[in-house]
């Protein structure tokens, strides 16, 4: 039996993959395994921890829904239209990806604070932004928005406009065509974008902490515990956040994959 020589490029790719997976997974597994069980139990019962995690999940979910409502129609517009300045518009959408998130927080604080007309206007309407959950959601939207818009745009681009043309000629108006054909076919891609947006929002710290320190989201609480009590007391909160986030992330991924298969 002849032995084939192993492909060097394939081996290199495999090694790179192994390195990347280890780089991600080793610190996570190490954190989960090295957390003191007793402190972990105390942390699970800690009301502040439960509140922070709940605030993170709640605001991330609201953020994802808001981006979905405004981002998906905008993504459809970008996917189906070519116009002068389109590249500029697309670059503007991507700006939050490239600026440091603490800077994003500063930018938002500048317009939402009393020093700007917008901040004063919002205050006059009774809508408090700074130091509230509204502020958290605004910060999360700013940094997470490109993920869903780009995912939805890519999903729509992959759908042939001919499908929409056929739908229109068969009697469906533009809205009906969008819902029955374009959105229905693009849904798995949009859902993937929503999951990434949600996950990105859960992990957001820099922009949020500039606008709202209290009520705390989980990353703020971890930062707070680390500053006040050190690594041993920030580890359990991190471990809980990682575990719960991973469980939800895996469930949503499975749902999205099922959608693709169907």
């Amino acid at each position: 039996m002849s032995k084939t020589k192993p492909d060097r490029l394939y081996l290199l790719s495999k090694f790179s993959g192994l390195l990347i997976i280890s780089f991600i997974m080793y610190p996570i597994i190490n954190l989960l395994l090295s957390t003191d069980g007793k402190i972990m139990l105390e942390t699970i019962r800690d009301k502040d921890v439960i509140n922070a995690i709940w605030t993170s999940f709640f605001t991330a979910t609201i953020t994802t829904l808001i981006i979905f409502v405004f981002g998906v129609p905008f993504a459809y517009f970008l996917a189906r239209n070519d116009f002068k300045g389109k590249k500029i518009i697309e670059s503007i959408v991507d700006i939050p990806v490239v600026i440091p998130h603490t800077v994003a927080g500063i930018i938002l604080l500048t317009v939402l604070g009393r020093q700007c007309w917008l901040g004063r206007f919002l205050e006059s309407t009774g809508l408090e932004v700074i130091g509230t959950r509204v502020g958290i959601v605004i910060a999360m939207i700013f940094v997470s928005m490109p993920l869903l818009i780009n995912a939805a745009k890519d999903a729509f681009i992959s759908i042939s406009p001919k499908l929409e043309n056929v739908s229109r000629t068969l009697g469906a108006n533009h809205f009906q065509t969008f819902f029955y054909v374009t959105f229905a076919i693009g849904w798995p891609g949009i859902l993937t974008g929503m999951i990434l947006t949600w996950a990105r929002s859960i992990s957001e710290f820099g922009a949020v902490v500039m606008i709202t320190y209290h009520p705390m989201i989980a990353p703020t609480l971890i930062f707070d515990r680390f500053n006040a009590f050190g690594l041993e007391y920030s580890k359990p909160v991190s471990a809980i956040l990682i575990t719960v986030s991973l469980i939800i992330f895996i469930i949503l991924r499975l749902v999205a994959q099922r959608g693709v298969r169907n």
């Binding site: 042939s160 001919k162 499908l163 043309n165 056929v166 739908s167 229109r168 000629t169 068969l170 009697g171 469906a172 108006n173 009906q176 029955y180 054909v181 229905a184 076919i185």
Partner: protein, 359 residues
């Protein structure tokens, strides 16, 4: 009936110009042209997917030029079928019905059963479009387009993605469907054989301009320009000259005088330039001895190719190369081969006079 009047549509670098077409009710009409000639664009304008800059489209007398596609009741079948991947075959076929309330569901059920039976797709209705072959997808696409009883059915290169056998089967089915349902049909294609086997009338389009409109056989037999002649398979096209009151081509072949009146040569073209002679390859006769045709030439076979259905023979006669089609049987009967000297002939009736295409 659909009437397209003085239609113009401009795109950067391309334009559909002064399109005038009339497609009668229940007619199978073909729009034939090369890639990039504006065929699909015209189809999409008729469907309402794009709107013309000027001109009008009348559907059964009603001006639909500015109407939305969903208001026109015009179905379109694309070459890549455009089946909805998120729906089953049955849901695809019935898609258009959810937006229609004019008929009872019983009528639609009857129509569904009829189409599914005629197209032989009964066993496929619960399947997903992803699991169908090209021919099956095409049938589903046709059923989906026809179930809504469109005023006009638009077919965009319906056979270009199919293999030869499937293409022939679907052509027969399409012909049968057309004869049964009498749906006015406009088919866009770049293949003249598809036009010849399906369409009653044809319009030839090039660079956004209609070149010739007429009965399929008429255009096939009497193309009006070198472009159309080339496109409908008239392989022997030679420039014509007129010296000393004698029309000739290839220095040897003199044409009878009555062609002069037919040509109506202008002063500008009094020397015959700008005019061509066209001969269909199947109208040429090859023999080993003298032939009984109106014109005869001696020549030598310079190449032979066989596609299984007919043999294409290229014969050099003087300065001209003629292409002729023979049945393989006839080819062997005559004992033809490359470099053999043969007699080539054609009749006066087979000579077509063509105008050089300036577009």
């Amino acid at each position: 009936m659909i009437e397209i009047k003085d239609l113009n549509f401009h795109l950067p670098g391309f334009a559909l110009s002064d399109i005038n077409l009339t497609i009668n009710s229940a007619e199978f009409f073909a729009l034939l042209g090369p890639t990039g000639s504006g065929k699909t664009l015209l189809l999409e304008i008729i469907a309402g997917i794009k709107y013309p800059n000027t001109g009008s489209i009348l559907l059964n007398g009603q001006d639909v030029t500015t109407m939305k596609p969903e208001q026109r009741n015009i179905s379109i079948v694309y070459q890549d079928y455009a089946l909805f991947p998120n729906m089953s075959v049955e849901q695809n076929i019935n898609y258009g019905l959810r937006f229609r309330k004019k008929q009872s569901s019983v009528n639609y059920k009857r129509k569904f059963d009829l189409l599914v039976e005629m197209l032989g797709i009964q066993k496929l209705i619960k399947r997903s479009p992803q699991n169908l072959s090209g021919g099956e997808k095409q049938r589903v696409s046709l059923a989906r387009a026809l179930i809504v009883e469109p005023n006009i059915l638009l077919l965009d290169e319906p056979f270009s993605a199919l293999d030869t056998n499937t293409k022939e089967v679907i052509q027969v089915e399409l012909k049968k469907l057309h004869n049964t349902l009498k749906t006015t049909t406009l088919m866009v294609t770049h293949n003249f054989s598809e036009v010849f086997s399906l369409a009653e009338k044809v319009a030839i389009i090039k660079g956004g301009h209609i070149q010739q409109v007429g009965l399929t056989e008429q255009v096939f037999k009497m193309p009006n320009s070198t472009f159309v002649a080339n496109f409908v398979g008239m392989k022997n096209i030679f420039p014509l000259s007129w010296e000393n009151n004698i029309l000739s081509f290839g220095s040897k072949i003199q044409l009878n005088k009555h062609h002069l009146t037919e040509l109506q040569l202008t002063n500008k073209h009094s020397d015959g330039t700008g005019y061509f002679v066209g001969l269909r390859p199947e109208d040429l006769v090859i023999g080993n001895d003298t032939l009984l045709t109106d014109y005869q030439l001696d020549g030598k076979i310079i190449s032979v190719s066989n596609n299984g259905i007919f043999t294409e023979v290229t014969i050099q006669a003087g300065k001209l190369n003629f292409t002729a089609y023979l049945t393989p049987n006839r080819y062997f009967e005559l004992g033809l081969h490359e470099d053999k000297h043969v007699c080539l002939g054609f009749d006066q009736a087979n000579i077509n006079l063509l105008v050089e295409n300036s577009l």
